[in-house]
Subunit: 290 residues, 4 copies
């Protein structure tokens, strides 16, 4: 049904593992949790984020420096200055960083500063960008388009794979619907389908999907239960002051609490969440009521 | 934002419990699993279903006797003969039954044979039916419309509540989208939202949502992790011979296996699945890989 | 592709003509314009509407007396009193009236007072209502469901046809989308498709489709150009005071002006708009700029 | 409601006119019809198209040489060789050409060969491309994204305007819906809304919207009646042999016939279609039945 060659399940009998660092990899039993703000705002901000998240099993940081904004008059991101912030925090806390690349010309500098290059929803079918990322030499986080079919999503990955880069992680982040009570509709059926269609790791962004912080936790648990290989979740030292997507960011405390609650769900489906701080899963709060 | 009165959270500080029988109730810690075929086809079929499912913690049977079909030439259900089948199986196996009612005139006879009356997606805004169900004297399973907003869904429940019937269970069953790889898109963000908006129990129908049996299990787990109060899942002694929705029905064996795998997910979010047969949750297969 | 029998084009080599009165018929060269308020509010209101519209080629009046409202606490319509209003205006101005029927029990009394029975979008797949309308003895105006496919729409008509009533007019009234700038999205591709699939007349409701009065005129013209057999347009003596859908109703003056502007469009596609008042199409304002 | 500055109606009390050549301009009384194949396949093909279309009031040619394809294995277009074809036909027949640009690096060469640069639906929010097109020095044809809101569409234009290029023409080409009977749903409500929101010209692509050639004509007429400033229509010397979108291309004969039928519709809404060949609109076939 889906005419992918390299992305198709039959290409590989074992799940593809995409390594972000020596110790962090997508696609294994261990889930990868990525946390951080929508937008890199300052070094202090990112240090606070890294300081707190590194006490929990959050394996990578996110933070946008090139921002796709509906309006040309909205803040477009810190650009190269933001990349320097990411590089400093990455080095200081020994944690991989993921950030978005919006055009071909940004690839070299972003690849020099970050561990993983994100393709945003609006660029999922920016085919020339996808082709160029085939030669980026870094893992790619490919977010599903706002109204892209599962087939189009897999074929977008195929563009990257067929141009030389085998390290693609797919990210379901909600699709558009008629109801604006939630920002988008998280399509976990697509996650389940993708796990059967392709050998590529599949992660979920519940923050952009639902757009309201009080609904992020149940969807994060659902994503893990459904078989996702990881999560990317927005959090911010002061969510209400976030320069973008303030309504959906968790506080850092809530982020830590959420990750604790995800552990038993992961175990329930035969997965685990990395234990950085020596906390045993058995001592984790077992009853994080839904 | 949502102008419900009786259905709103503030109406009740505690979760509403909807009782299906002396031992089966929606809204408590224990999840309710409803299983059975799309359509009641014969007494033998329903006895096979009940015989097998009663060995597992499936607390209620489903089976349609009045069927809403796109074509007037498709099988419209066994009607009253089917109600007799349901009544026999209900009595023989001491298990509650749920079945759909499509018009006001069917309410008395369906209420006399079944424990819970289902309103199908196509009738979610059949307001005269909803008003009449306010006086049905039986619990109502209200399925979300194919493209109904969360607000419309809650307000449809409000029609039933405001006409005298407090026993309404909401059921998310997938909404329409642009992608036909899956039949519909299961909207678990709506489930999470509904749990915060209303005190009514909320269950999930992963079978109609996804429309492919190989994708039902991951979505069922996701629904439990997300906080659903129960599930309604299609299963059939011979799925491929089902007169309707054959593509999405589980075999009875797969149904049993699925319920086993749901137990640890329920525990992980502070819930449980009823233990009928003395099987301890601790001995259940812990690693039902996602 | 669409498995209709009676509704399919091949059933009839000539367009079905649905007669509303001795002089008003859907499906011929002459377009049928239906005007009136969303809701019947009083005899005075409907008399004002009829008084003004009867000076223009508006061949039928609309006005709801049983209203499908999202909230049970919203005004549900005048009911039988409203039917009396319709009957009086119908008689006084010798103009056919169309009104919605929401349940089987309302069919006899509505059929006794109105010339055409409307099935609203929310009831398009209320199959028991459709079956009963097969025996209503009056023409049916079947509105497309909020998210119904073209196939489901045609098959809903097939329910009515196959139960004995050949007089069905289809009405496209906008479908749900992700964009709420307009209330719905008018699907004129569906109108074009329906004209090829079925021999039944197809009309368009631009008012509910777009939900903003300033956008009704261009869509009404588009519908005529596309091949619609008629229009149903909301208008009100004092639009801003309308008890429902105030935002989309035209004033009566704008309604008259719109009908004038539709005439040359109808002529441009080989159709005409009935001339009641002796006004020649040639003297109508030819340049009603789009 | 829509926070555009340069694109907003208030910026300009008169309609913006976008000139494609000395004699062809979007936004005036005269509509602009663009015709041609989805993909440039050979010089012979484009000469046949130009030869035929130049006998009718088709003011510009379309033809893709850089093709956005779902699969990386599908034909990606002739590239620079195709640009040479376009340039030859443009010169030979003295007709402007429009073609798509997919990446920043293609802008200079495309701008050197074509009169107007098209941004495809998948790139509507490729913001870096939009910024670069602000300095392209050529008019831009901006197609609406597959699931973009009206606001996003206008703000995408704002990116181009605010980066220095005032010559933007918007193109509605259908949005995604739940029904796959037609390829997309043409949103003429958006066209009507855009005509009120912005001073930029708005044209319509009925071919991609509906995806079936037998439905193109009624939608083209509807677009004109609705107030569109022009049309872009796919046609091909041998539609069934088209390398892409074969199902929706008109034959050249049908294209000529369609343009004839559009003339009276244009006149009916106070517009006109350019008369190249001395054919008077009064002698055009007046009754092109819908």
């Amino acid at each position: 049904m889906i005419n992918a060659k390299l992305a198709s399940q039959s290409h590989s009998e074992h799940q593809t593992i995409v390594k972000l660092s020596e110790t962090v990899a997508f696609g294994g039993d261990e889930l990868v949790i990525i946390g951080g703000p929508c937008t890199v705002e300052s070094l202090e901000q990112m240090q606070m984020v890294a300081e707190t998240l590194s006490t929990a099993p959050v394996q990578a940081l996110r933070g946008g420096v090139y921002k796709p904004r509906t309006s040309p008059y909205a803040f477009q991101g810190m650009g190269e200055t933001g990349l320097d912030v990411l590089a400093k925090v990455r080095s200081q806390y020994n944690i991989p960083v993921v950030t978005e690349v919006m055009s071909i010309s940004q690839i070299p500098i972003v690849a020099a500063h970050a561990d993983m290059l994100q393709v945003g929803s609006r660029n999922m079918q920016n085919f020339d960008l996808l082709k160029a990322l085939g030669e980026a030499g870094k893992p790619i986080l490919l977010k599903r388009g706002l109204a892209s079919t599962i087939e189009e999503f897999v074929m977008a990955a195929e563009y990257i794979l067929s141009h030389g880069n085998p390290d693609v992680v797919l990210c379901e982040r909600g699709i558009r619907s008629f109801d604006n009570y939630t920002r988008n509709v998280l399509d976990l059926g697509a996650v389940a389908a993708l796990k059967q269609i392709t050998h590529l790791p599949v992660i979920v962004d519940p923050s952009h999907a639902v757009g309201k912080r009080e609904l992020v936790a149940p969807l994060a648990k659902a994503a893990v239960a459904c078989g996702a290989d990881g999560l990317i979740i927005e959090c911010h030292p002061e969510p209400e002051k976030s320069v973008s997507d303030a309504r959906q960011a968790l506080s850092l405390e809530d982020m830590l609490s959420l990750v604790d609650c995800l552990k038993p769900v992961a175990v329930a489906v035969g997965r685990s969440i990395a234990i950085k701080t020596g906390v045993d899963v058995k001592s984790a709060p077992i009853f994080c009521a839904a």
